[in-house]
Symmetry: D3
Subunit: 73 residues, 6 copies
């Protein structure tokens, strides 16, 4: 422990995933003095038609440029 699960819409590159794993691990070591070797970070990627915000899928919100409440990518 800790175990961190990042749920993201599909699209992060391998380099970006590596940056997230490294950055979150460093943060947990710095803030909570956690042991890096027992700190596990898992990235779960979700298709944009399987993620809903404000009652609609991210796919349709992005298609219609309705992105005030979501991430553009």
């Amino acid at each position: 422990m800790p175990y961190v699960e990042l749920n993201l819409t599909v699209g992060a590159t391998k380099e970006q995933k590596a940056q997230l794993v490294e950055g979150i691990t460093d943060l947990l070591v710095k803030v909570l003095n956690k042991n890096p070797s027992s700190t596990q970070i898992v990235i779960k990627e979700v298709p944009v038609d399987s993620w809903g915000i404000a009652g609609r899928s991210v796919k349709s919100l992005r298609k219609e440029g309705d992105t005030a409440f979501i991430s553009k990518q």
Copy 2:
């Protein structure tokens, strides 16, 4: 918030996913007066050989018509 995760066996169509996202968001707004723009619904699809009930996979239960405790689809 809220964040809702629906774990389903693979097979829902885009239209069905949209109905679920819309329906659950409406329910959370109606029952708990939640802000739709911060209400996130994520659908995670699981292969039928990776979902076990009563000690066996949904795949084998469906193959053998043993569906009293599971969903047929």
Copy 3:
């Protein structure tokens, strides 16, 4: 299956939880023809200082009335 996990900030009453369980189960039966007896809905309640949006806790956002992107309750 399905298994649905609702992550909410603390505060829902028993009656509201019952409405959510019933409503989501009915929706899954109607939309996906799921077997209600294998449909499980779990509500996980999270303290407001343990839920962050836009880099700040819901607790501090609500305290300062900064609620455009969150639910007021």
Copy 4:
């Protein structure tokens, strides 16, 4: 209930998944007297570049033979 989620790196065979589903269900029946027909086990497989330990991905740790804190497969 119970609902058990096994997060694994990709690679388990169908037979191994079946053994895990059966074994964990039996354990829950034996230890907690749970009803097998309401005991659900879900296996979620994660690519090795999406699982980080000690700040690096399992993929790079395995490539460099740095496996003291991880599983070799």
Copy 5:
């Protein structure tokens, strides 16, 4: 990895939790040759009025003896 999350209704004793942790770890070592020191098992306990099956809470199902599809304890 692996990371296993057991969602249970409240009530397991410390000894039962220890048996589950040991049993599941042994199973993962035996079936998948996983490294026990990177195998993490987390038990999350849920109040009976926050777990719904067949559209009703486990609490009310147990109260009315309607336990065909749930665990009695």
Copy 6:
């Protein structure tokens, strides 16, 4: 989205939680250009007798000073 769930053993202070929420949000904005107002971070705290590593609870591992594979706090 994204939605990040941090599973930690009990013990983080409010200030530490705030640092984690802020740090992870900043990282997601920097690395993936995510919209902070739709980035949700949830911290779930787990009792030490409910978290197992290497087949034993964190509680017993810490009690016996067997902390090579875990975090001391």
